[in-house]
């Protein structure tokens, strides 16, 4: 199955709350599109069903609301990202610790990369 706009449209219909227009999903910021695309790819690999994904997302949204999230739609993809991190850890793809280490490594890569050069992850970023 290709990772294409048709698949994206099906996902946007299958998962409640995905911001979209008549052609498919729309995004507020570039990272939202990245998070969406990764989820689509994992779904196509059979890591989870859309039902499973929708449940995982709903848990994150409920938790955020309990913590006072205004739920204006602006934070939808923040919940999406949190659900993705949690679900792939539950599936044994990675661990919260590994996610933390990689996040930190990217932060270091950023800090040592002068503006205008592509940011690349190097082994020393994990030191």
């Amino acid at each position: 199955m290709p990772l294409d706009p048709q698949a994206a449209m099906r996902a946007a219909i299958a998962v409640p709350g995905v911001p979209r227009d008549r052609d498919g999903p729309v995004f507020r910021e570039p990272w939202e599109a990245q998070a969406f695309a990764m989820t689509l790819a994992l779904h196509q690999r059979g890591l989870f069903s859309w039902k499973e994904w929708a449940d995982a997302l709903a848990v994150q949204i409920k938790r955020a609301q309990a913590e006072g999230d205004p739920d204006t739609g602006e934070t939808y993809y923040r919940h999406w990202l949190a659900a993705l991190e949690k679900l792939i850890a539950e599936k044994g793809v990675t661990t919260p610790d590994a996610l933390h280490r990689y996040r930190h490594a990217w932060d270091r890569a950023c800090d040592r990369t002068p503006h205008g050069s592509p940011i690349e992850l190097k082994p020393e970023d994990f030191a």
Binding site: P30, V93, Y102, R103, C110, D111, R112, P114, H115
Partner: protein, 210 residues
């Protein structure tokens, strides 16, 4: 050649990604290393959302500048409030500068960092825009890069390359195409492409969109 000459009082200027962007990068790296996702396939899909990210009001800004001389002047001297007046809500601290294309000068913007690209105005950057070869070639051989995009400019037109910084983002104001007299702002905005606002393309002509 670099189009900006700013002081950076806080020492060297390094790259910046938000906490959220770092998390997304971490995820993508892990999933790629484990063979769950292919970055090229992700990029390909994401590129189809070029027109679906952010408010993308750059085209409206350009169309307004083509029809309203007062607005054009405002835009060229103080871009942030001029852009904000058509509904742009950018991140704080982003200073926009609008570069006017003329028969004498064509402006082209480079930056390999997605974080320096004014996506709220332009939508998503093209994938190639982030590649190192594009950046170095644009600086060394701008006419060659433009030719790759099918753009040929008169020999006497100077091509100027501008390098986005973390503080300054550029928007190119392309020249209004011939034969567009009497078109409404809305129709004119349809002619304004993303590539024409980063200087790697020209606006469409009215006959292209009929």
């Amino acid at each position: 050649m670099s189009g900006h000459d700013h002081d950076h009082p806080h020492g060297h200027e390094h790259s910046e990604l938000s906490e959220t962007e770092l998390r997304v990068r971490a995820l993508e790296t892990i999933l790629t290393e484990k063979g769950y996702v292919e970055p090229a396939a992700l990029d390909l899909l994401i590129e189809t959302y070029e027109k679906k990210v952010g408010p993308r009001n750059g085209a409206l800004v350009v169309a307004k500048a083509w029809t309203d001389a007062g607005y054009r002047k405002w835009l060229l001297t103080d871009a942030n409030p001029a852009i904000a007046s058509v509904g742009y809500a950018g991140r704080q601290g982003e200073h926009m500068v609008v570069l006017e294309n003329t028969p004498k000068r064509h402006n082209m913007v480079v930056c390999t960092l997605c974080s320096c690209y004014p996506w709220p105005v332009l939508g998503l950057p093209p994938v190639w825009y982030k590649s190192a070869p594009y950046r170095s070639r644009a600086v060394a051989d701008p006419r060659g890069v433009l030719a790759d995009f099918g753009v040929e400019l008169p020999k006497e037109t100077e091509i100027r390359i501008w390098d986005s910084t973390s503080e300054v983002r550029y928007l190119v104001l392309p020249m209004r195409p011939a034969g567009t007299e009497g078109l409404s702002e809305e129709r004119l905005a349809d002619l304004v492409t993303r590539d024409s606002m980063i200087g790697t393309g020209l606006p469409k002509r009215p006959e292209d969109i009929k």
